[in-house]
Amino acid sequence: MSLLYEYRVFLFAGFIETLLMSLTVAIGATGIAVFLATMLQSKIRVIKTAGYTLCEVLRDIPLMVNVLMVYFILPLIGLGFGPFWSACIAISIWGGANGAHILRAGLQSVGSGQRETAAAFNFGPIKTLFLIVLPQAMPVIIPPYVSLLTAVVQATSLGAIVGAQELLRAGQILIEQTTIMRGGSPAYLVYGSILVVYFVLCSLISLVGARVEAYYQRPYRGSGAQEIEKKIKDIEASMQTSA
């Protein structure tokens, strides 16, 4: 424990980098998810098929391969981003492909009668989406989306593989140096503590997520809650579980 205390500044810097990466991938994944979800919802056949294929391929390739691929291949076409950004890009793309399906399933869970009624009231497509469809889709979207966010936050640990200076990388460096200078590996202590840090971080995200979820589920208290539960389960069963 004293080892962790001794290097607290170094480890804390890594933790800050992890938080930065988490924020970046959360925003990036959401942006890409919205973009891909628009493709999936498109009325034009070609765009729709392209969207589905893209999502399927991105979801089926292991995240580890994705991260390495972005890190090794982008520089070849003159886009060398460095470890931080290439890890963020890869994880955002992966998260976006999974998020797109959550958004699509959420939007589709709202019955077509709602859209037709909105059209009858002369609501435009944007008004319909934001005032009618989204508020009803939110209770279905939020729970799996929060799980996805915790997954991309956990995935930032992959930055260590390509050399981003985040928490896991800081831990690795600390272990290497201590093993060389003092002998005896403190790996179980350092990795154990990192596990705990991530666990606390993800629990906090889930906690905030549960509050947001409760907010959107207010209108369904009592009636309709079971139906929503079932829709959420269906989405979560098909969602990516890894990170």
Binding site: D60, I61, V65, F72, P186, A187, Y191, L195, S206, A237
Partner: protein
């Protein structure tokens, strides 16, 4: 732009890597399913302490990055007195990770079986184990199947993380060759296609199983 001859040359290495990926994943899938079944039984058992213990295990594994778990098993456990080879570290880490997800899907499957069925079985004079094996299990298995299959497929994909501890599987083979020969586009294209093929085949098999189990419900 793509050097096909080079890719052809790499095929034997890639096949070896794929073999290792499949072997590790296969063992991990078997072990994690077994651990998932046992864990689920403990999770719903009447001993409260065990319920909480398993629930905490599931929450902890799901709330922590898999990569750190792999490092903990491979680098951390030896100093706690458990020294495993790279291969078995990989199998153990993968099984630990997947079992947490299996426990959760099995439990969700069990809770989807309605309570009234128990009374129905009792009134037909079924013994407890008959009830469990012939009534509850088939219903629970159907509803747990989609998420279980998802975890199984993810187990195969997550075996790629084991390249980080030096297991010579598919991703490791590709990265290793890139380090010496700098043909990154060829190697990544090759392993992406292989992973895609494996994942699609396994999911297709899973869907067939799903459809087969759904037969009694067709038309209802």
């Amino acid at each position: 732009m793509i050097d096909w001859a080079y890719m052809w040359e790499a095929v034997p290495d890639l096949i070896n890597g794929l073999g290792m990926t499949l072997l590790v994943s296969f063992l991990a899938i078997i072990f994690s399913l077994l651990a998932g079944a046992v864990g689920c039984a403990l999770r719903v058992s009447s001993v409260k302490a065990l319920n909480y213990l398993i629930a905490a295990y599931v929450e902890f594994i799901r709330g922590t990055p898999y990569l750190v778990q792999v490092f903990f098993v491979f680098y951390g456990l030896p100093s706690l007195g458990l020294k495993l080879s790279i291969f078995w570290s990989g199998v153990v880490a993968l099984s630990i990770w997947a079992s947490a997800f299996h426990i959760e899907s099995f439990r969700a499957g069990l809770t989807s079986v309605s309570k009234d069925i128990r009374n129905a079985s009792a009134s037909l004079g079924l013994r407890a184990w008959h009830h469990g094996l012939f009534v509850v299990f088939p219903i629970a298995a159907r509803s747990a199947l989609p998420s279980t299959l998802n975890t199984v497929v993810s187990t195969i994909k997550n075996s790629a993380y084991l390249q980080a501890i030096g297991l010579v599987e598919l991703t490791f083979v590709a990265v290793d060759r890139i380090a010496y020969e700098f043909r990154s586009i060829e190697m990544f294209l090759a392993i992406c296609v292989i992973y895609l093929a494996v994942v699609l085949v396994v999911s297709a098999l899973g869907h067939r199983l799903e459809r087969r189990l759904d037969r009694p419900y067709v038309g209802r």
